[in-house]
């Protein structure tokens, strides 16, 4: 499965560790030392208390489906990816993260347990996290 012609993320100095960690097989979130918030997407200031004392944390890469939808048709997207299951995954680490569940739509429900996988981007030093269903 090739990534192109799907879009690749815009990697900025603020987000580069997230994407390169994904290239190394790790899903990171941000944690604030001052108020304890664990958050996503990455930002250099805590979005609850504006503290700069924030750090990257590794996650288990596990979570469950908070909600999902299945794109049956979609212009500007590779046909071989359809139907495409878009979802919010609630990570064990806390935040809800938008992603794709790489599975047959019939295997996906709210509450389905999933684990992260990584799809290489065109720039092979980074990767994009997606999820697949797992059995407990």
């Amino acid at each position: 499965m090739t990534w192109e012609p799907r879009p690749v993320p815009d990697v900025t100095p603020e987000t580069e560790p997230y994407w390169t960690a994904a290239g190394d097989g790790e899903l990171l979130v941000r944690k604030c030392h001052d108020c304890g918030l664990v958050y996503h997407y990455p930002r250099s200031l805590c979005p609850d208390c504006f503290s700069e004392a924030v750090e990257w944390c590794e996650t288990s890469g596990h979570g469950e489906i908070y909600s999902y939808s299945v794109a049956r048709t979609m212009s500007g997207w590779p046909d071989e990816d359809l139907p495409l299951v878009l979802a919010y995954v609630e990570l064990e680490a806390g935040p809800r993260i938008m992603s794709i569940v790489d599975a047959d739509p019939s295997a996906v429900e709210i509450g389905t347990h999933v684990a992260v996988r990584f799809v290489d981007a065109a720039d092979s030093t980074i990767a994009v996290p997606v999820f697949v269903p797992v059995t407990d």
Binding site: R6, P7, V8, P9, D10, V11, T12, T15, V29, L37, V38, Y39, H40, Y41, P47, D48, Y66, S67, Y68, S69, V70, A71, R72, T73, M74, S75, G76, W77, D81, L84, L86, A87, Y88, L91, G94, P95, R96, I97, M98, S99, I100, P105, I110, V128, V130
Partner: protein
């Protein structure tokens, strides 16, 4: 914070076209501006405030300059607030503030766009990455319709809402659209028609989605001094509120919208509550957009929107909460993917007794509510409570 000086909507005009292959967006802006000023009984030279969210083709913050130049305006006050389709409801509130501050007396608000003629895939098209957040969202192929689909899916999960209940919203809109000669889709549909239509993004079917139309609309908001000199029924702005809903660092709740705050702010300013609203224009990009807004505006308890919309509640003229009597974005018009404008216009028509006769409601108090952006990520909400001047 009380609204003291009365502020009124004196002019409202909806462009009759739904497809404008041979016109420019600026031309449509000019046509709706002229229409709304004529409706108010005012001249272009009376305009000293100008409000627009811009020209969609340009995707530039400079488009208000482009438009003021094209229209030949000399405003002393300009506002280009843009949070998608709710912007034009917000502009009414912002115009009122500017008028009460003495910054202008005649505020012109214009919207126009040509997504249909430009072949824009508005709901189900993948999009290039443009915002910072797109790298975490659109990179996955998130489209507008899948993001609203996630909202509907979760609402169904938490509250037992059904596809048939969502379909009731389209059924009511289509019932109204049959009387609107300008509506894109005038054929009344049944609940079965909606749930049997093609699935676009689970659980949303084709008929859960709004139309893609060209066109536009304009409003003229005036001070009490100007209103008192007009030979025209005007509609008074009783209350306004706005709010933003977003991803909230990963705590997003897709079953609730910022209408809970924009609505309560508007009702507080008006000194009224949802029980006083006799007609409601509610932004209907998708059926689920309406369902969640109805709950968040306080017309029913959270989670009870499904049962609430059953049994013709939304159908004019006899339902308890007649809504979108022009056919709404679902059936009539969603100009430039920004239906907030048409929401205000139809509320004004209702209060001035200018709605299509078959759906005219005897309302003294109406509400118009806009939802812009996407329930699945970030959205703006803006609510106005409007009243007849002789109520």
């Amino acid at each position: 914070m009380t609204a003291t000086e009365p502020v009124s909507i004196a002019g409202a005009f909806e462009h009759p076209t739904r497809e404008a292959p041979d016109k420019s967006t600026m031309q449509l802006h000019a046509e709706v501006a002229k229409g709304a000023l004529e409706d108010a009984g005012l001249e272009k030279r009376d305009v000293d405030g100008y409000f627009t969210a811009g020209v969609p083709e340009y995707e530039t913050g400079l488009s208000p300059l482009v438009m003021a130049d094209y229209l030949g305006l000399d405003p002393s006050y300009t506002d280009t607030t843009d949070f998608g389709g709710s912007s034009y409801v917000a502009h009414v509130g912002h115009a009122a503030s500017a008028i009460r501050d003495g910054r202008c007396d005649v505020a012109l608000v214009t919207l126009a766009g040509r997504p249909r003629s430009r072949g824009q895939a508005t709901g189900s098209g993948a999009r290039e990455l443009r915002t910072f957040q797109d790298s975490f969202e659109r990179v996955y192929g998130a489209t507008n319709v899948t993001m609203y689909g996630m909202a509907a899916q979760r609402h169904m999960h938490e509250y037992g809402t059904t596809s048939e209940q969502l379909a009731e919203i389209r059924v009511a809109a289509s019932h109204h659209a049959q009387y609107n000669e300008h509506a894109m889709y005038r054929e009344p549909v049944s609940v079965d028609d909606v749930v049997d239509s093609r699935m676009v993004a689970d659980p949303l079917h084709l008929l859960d989605c709004c139309v893609v139309s060209d066109g536009g609309g304009a409003l003229v908001v005036v001070s009490e001094d100007v209103r008192s000199k007009l030979d025209r029924d005007c509609v008074e702005l009783l209350g306004f509120g706005e709010a933003i809903g977003h991803h909230d660092a990963g705590r997003i709740d897709v079953t609730t919208t910022a209408a809970d705050r924009s609505g309560s702010r508007a009702f507080a300013e008006a000194g009224l509550g949802p029980e006083h609203v006799e007609y409601a224009s509610i932004y209907d990009s998708f059926t689920v957009t309406v369902l969640e807004a109805i709950e968040d505006l306080g017309f029913c308890e959270k989670g009870e929107g499904g049962p609430f919309v059953e049994g013709g509640t939304l159908q004019a003229p006899d339902g308890d909460l007649p809504f979108n009597t022009d056919g709404g974005g679902l059936c009539s018009n969603h100009p430039a993917n920004r239906g907030g404008m048409t929401k205000v216009i139809e509320a004004v028509r209702q209060l001035r007794r200018e709605a299509n006769p078959e759906v005219q409601v005897d309302a003294d108090v109406a509400l118009a509510h806009g939802t812009g952006g996407s329930l699945g990520t970030r959205h703006g909400a803006a609510t106005v409570v409007l009243g007849r001047e002789d109520r």
